[in-house]
Symmetry: D2
Subunit: 250 residues, 4 copies
């Protein structure tokens, strides 16, 4: 393993699994089970074990996107996996794709897209958000995700490259839409994410104006089912509305 890499340490204690995401570096990491010398990780491989100074043993695992989702630094409410999954499935995102993203936020969507696609270029207008997102992307080891700080509306016309999928999660997505035709490969998909009906309506009007077709707006909801000694039922708590996903095709 190399310095700076994110690694998941997992152990079991009294029948409960505990996990920590740590960075490989010259440092110590303090857990309830005693401290772990993170420098030792430089000589280890995934699947190996490492022992805390009080004797507790951890297995070293390669973190996956759900781990990065749980541990990423957040600058706001990130897009939820249910919505990310819907975007991936309805665009048919695949490893040959080049993606243009806008409204990076914490970079969660960009990271998910980058773990699948060949290249992701993501625009974030707020400098401090872009910095956090870049850190999250780096921690996840995704060198194919480029985060640029700037206004997509200004820059989209002079990008000099084309994309298979475009994902927009910004307040002014409707102003980006008219420029998307120019950089979207034929047969490619544009997707927007917006919490409100009014915004979604404006986006759809812009899509119709720009001759996109197969425009669909979908809301995805998930419900956890609870299994216990007492019986089986849908969970008594559930997630409310996140956002509407609008999919259109060039």
């Amino acid at each position: 393993m190399k310095a700076g890499e994110l690694v998941m340490l997992k152990t079991s204690h009294r029948g409960k699994v505990r996990e920590f995401i740590v960075t490989v570096r010259e440092d110590e990491f303090h857990t309830d089970f005693g401290k772990v010398d993170l420098a030792l990780l430089l000589e280890k491989d995934f699947g190996d074990h490492i022992t805390a100074h009080k004797g507790q043993e951890f297995i070293i695992q390669r973190p996956r996107m759900p781990d990065f989702f749980n541990h990423a630094k957040r600058t706001g409410a990130p897009m939820m996996p249910k919505d990310i999954g819907l975007i991936i499935a309805y665009t048919g995102l695949n490893k040959n794709d080049s993606v243009l993203d806008a409204g990076t936020g914490s970079g969660i969507l960009a990271m998910y897209l980058g773990s699948i696609a060949k290249r992701v270029l993501s625009y974030e207008v707020r400098e401090n958000f872009a910095d956090v997102a870049r850190k999250n992307v780096m921690n996840a080891g995704l060198d194919n995700v480029e985060i640029r700080c700037g206004d997509i509306v200004q820059e989209i016309s002079s990008l000099g490259e084309s994309f298979d999928v475009v994902t927009l999660d910004t307040q002014d997505s409707k102003d980006v839409v008219p420029h998307v035709s120019g950089i979207l490969n034929p047969g490619g998909f544009m997707v927007t994410y917006s919490p409100f009906f009014e915004q979604t309506k404006e986006i759809r009007d812009a899509m119709a104006e720009a001759n996109f077709y197969d425009v669909r707006t979908i809301e995805c909801t998930e419900r956890e089912i609870s299994f216990s000694e007492r019986g089986t039922r849908p969970s008594t708590t559930r997630v409310g509305h996140t956002g509407f996903i609008t999919i259109a095709r060039a």
Copy 2:
């Protein structure tokens, strides 16, 4: 383009977009707009145009997974994109992954997984289903998806390879679960799909028995929003239940 490849021909007629998926071969394809000489595609590239004998012009596009989903031959009800998306997002499926799948059916899930992951090995017990799925996979040009006809319960112990993600959509998923630990990489995910509560309960019991952790059962529903002159509202028709997705970690 090469013979056997699937290609999407798209044209616009009276303001409506029409699309056809065709195979590049020495043949003619008959549309309402006249016949198209498919052999001509051998000299074309994606983004080029082709003209039907009555003069209608088509743009040639590279089909994407949603197109393969719409046009694949089906041996039963395939898993829906909303559920496939959830599986991808909650497992963090990515291009470095190796996936073991069982209950291939028409191969829709295997195709989606294969368009993202490095390798997919999928088991289908019914010979004729496996044949259809292989054809669908071939049409989609996915040479990293291998479909084997056989009983996963019998064969899982002697596979000689390990996987990052295991997806099970079979009647006897609960009998496969105990064998998954042996072939799942540390930190990897197992996912099962089942329409019924009773089956799901048995699967979860088997998962607990086999010491999987972070076991969650989720139902994903989607709702289309309808925008028209009259106003905006959720669609008056909607998809009912498909299946419960249970996610567990090694």
Copy 3:
């Protein structure tokens, strides 16, 4: 029983229950089990039996609102029981209430309200709709439901009576709202039903303008659970969107 009354005849054949709603009158009613002499019902009571000429025996039952709902003549899509129930529960409709209703349609909601409240006055602007609704109301034996053909916006100010609950299901509910304060008893509820967001928004703006308080907009969905030999699951078909219910208090 008296002539004109609606009566439910129920029988069992090969393990399946069959039911018919008939009117007590000098006539015959033809069923797959032979004809029934409806005049004989004049001498019967609920709970008694009546025999078709081929010998099949029927039990005579008093029909209830769900029966009237199923058998009423319809001039359009009636409000669904789930929505009617929500209106009843959130207004606390009770037997001492006087209700003003507008947008009678087939009269289904007015009938439900009338089976509970002391008095229901319902306005329908289309003469033929009002006629059908009056017939449905009469068939259900509800002599406390009065259906007037006219424009509620014109007439609401000169009604000369006050109400505990007002229910509006018309295209122009927003124009009725400003007049409701004048006829709603203190502590009473106004409810509107509208399929679209835009209409609902206008209604809420009118409510705020007219100083109504505790304004809430709710969507009610129901889902049938299917139990069979194969297992238990939510139904694979389900009802889509009907309408948004907005509740406000004087």
Copy 4:
């Protein structure tokens, strides 16, 4: 007004409506606006005003079921209005009905039923729960709701009266079901409420065994829609699962 009656006092302060439910009695009630002499209510009528000692004026309103729901003393989670409404609508509960209820709890359902039906007899096995429910019923002024402390399974066969609707919300509803046929009027409805699939399944088996027909199990969900300056969207919080309602007919 008479001593012991519940009354709602409503006032407006800085554009916000505030409401209090108080009992008419020789006492003072302290609000942020100063104290109110409750004995003065004995000389007032609904719609009149009463003034706190610091000069704030309140309108006196007749409380309705949603107010009793909000202010009733609770011995556990009461049934929600959405579920109560569904029961009312699917049974067609009306002012001529006699209802047998079991599992009174805080008495919320019994109170709702009693505000509509002619008579409600409700069984609660826990003495202290029955006491609270009786107090809630008395406060709501419902003299047609009788709460008996006892085991419905033991007593149902010797009630000596029949009912149009039976509502069961007990752990052992499945044991009550076989006895319901004997006391349910022909054409009447039985409804059970249960949070779990397993219980619901047992109840349905008991219903089938006892020859009930038209058995349906429904889950009712509600979703609040949020309207604000920023836009319109479904609420970001929502109520999770409450219970499954099973309706059957005699």
